[in-house]
């Protein structure tokens, strides 16, 4: 397993909701970063077509998705009959981030992702370390 999940980029081909400079900037930066990644033309279209690629993505929890709002992405997978696995892959929202921020989130090492940090916090809570830390402050 590499230090980063596989990256899946959605080009949102049919709408201008993701700014062109963000899409172009993310593709450019991922290309420069020297990582392997996958791109799909439009997750909405694939969901409506029940595209089997969605099943393959849903079966691989080790993926980071560059698309739009996580709630919408989650809904698209459910609509296609292939809900995202639990814990859910991280969805990087290119509608809200600029190209630099989105690429940084996509290339972030696995243990620095918000999901990993959340899991770590839960572990700390379970073991009681968090409470001790809390008492100290």
């Amino acid at each position: 397993m590499t230090d980063q999940p596989r990256i899946l980029y959605c080009h949102c081909a049919f709408a201008q909701v993701i700014p062109k400079d963000v899409k172009q900037g993310v593709l450019e930066r991922l290309g420069e970063a020297g990582v392997d990644f996958d791109c799909v033309p439009d997750l909405c279209e694939m969901s409506a077509n029940r595209d089997p690629i969605l099943q393959q993505i849903a079966e691989n929890p080790d993926v980071r998705i560059a698309a739009c709002f996580p709630r919408a992405v989650r809904g698209l997978f459910v609509a296609a009959g292939h809900p995202l696995p639990q814990p859910e892959p991280e969805v990087v929202n290119m509608r809200m981030l600029n190209a630099e921020e989105a690429t940084a989130a996509l290339l972030r090492p696995r243990d620095e992702s918000p999901l990993a940090q959340q899991e770590e916090a839960q572990t700390v809570e379970t073991t009681g370390t968090g409470a001790r830390e809390g008492n100290r402050t």
Binding site: Q24, G31, G34, D38, V40, D42, A48, P52, F69, V73
Partner: protein
């Protein structure tokens, strides 16, 4: 790595035996192929992933192709070509295949249900005149006919009391899938009330206007004036119910008033049947 079973995949290969692509060329080529509807993978590893699907492998090979299963991988040297020429080369390879991107594409505008919020009230099913919604055999709401949905019309999401209907390509939240605030829930509730203030429901208002318009048209029998009057009524409706955001072209393309009435009734019946089926399923589950 993604491997589509439905059509070929384009691989931009920059591993062993290939020179790297120039960055701006790579970006331009990827954007063009994606807009053509093709999934792409960028591969820098030394070996191509095996797949049961056809791969069109593009790269600056200089006459030496990497090792791969020749029954699925088709190599093309793109050295010296511009992005347009590469797309046309890929299209030549795809010609005659059953690649889904060869078929006519449509702007994928359709409702996506957030089942974490949906209460299965069937308001969307009874509201939509275009049979976009349906119900499963056990009475659960589902989107059945995505392509029937009218592009840029988010009206059903406006009548959903739970803010559970998203249009991912919509301009603003929460309809676009953005997180929902308590203000959003309150606002959506008010919109349903606005619809009610129009005289019970939006279709009742259309029917009233239809009756008035028909009495005038029966005297005049002027098709052009009838069309104009219908347009005027619909524009008034749109002004009164502006928050519902039905695009003018959708309003203009609605069927006749009688047909609207009939469609709305059918939709209501389907919603009622789905609710009855849902209740039956729930009772059966609780009886077990």
């Amino acid at each position: 790595m993604i491997a589509t079973k439905t059509g070929p995949r384009v691989v931009l290969y920059e591993g062993a035996d290939a020179s790297p692509l120039e960055n701006s060329f790579r970006v331009e080529l990827m954007a063009k192929l994606l807009e053509r509807g093709l999934p792409i993978s960028l591969a820098r590893g030394n070996a191509l992933n095996s797949t049961e699907n056809k791969q069109i492998v593009l790269g600056n090979f200089g006459g030496r192709f990497p090792e791969a299963d020749s029954s699925t991988a088709e190599f093309r040297d793109i050295a010296g070509l511009d992005a347009v020429a590469v797309v046309s080369l890929v299209e030549d390879v795809l010609a005659g295949t059953n690649d889904p991107s060869n078929t006519k594409r449509w702007k994928p505008w359709f409702p996506v249900i957030d089942f974490g919020r949906c209460t299965n009230c069937m308001q969307c099913l009874s509201f939509c005149l275009f049979d976009v919604y349906g119900a499963t055999s056990d009475g659960k709401i589902q989107v059945q006919n995505e392509s029937n949905c009218k592009t840029d019309c988010p009206a059903c999401s406006r009548v959903c009391p739970e803010v559970a209907i998203m249009f991912p390509k919509y301009k603003a939240g929460p309809i676009n899938g953005d997180e929902i605030s308590t203000d959003d829930v309150r606002r959506e509730g008010m919109k349903v009330d606005i619809s009610a203030l129009l005289g019970g429901d939006i279709y009742a208002m259309l029917r009233d206007r239809s009756a008035k318009a028909q009495s005038r048209f029966s005297k005049e029998r002027d098709d052009e004036r009838a069309l104009k009057e219908r347009q005027r009524c619909l524009n008034k409706l749109k002004a009164a119910a502006g928050d519902i955001e039905i695009p003018t072209e959708v309003l203009a393309s609605l069927p006749s008033m009688d047909q609207i009435q009939s469609k709305a009734e059918q939709a209501r019946q389907r919603a009622a049947q789905a609710l009855a089926q849902q209740a039956k399923s729930t009772n059966a589950d609780s009886g077990q």
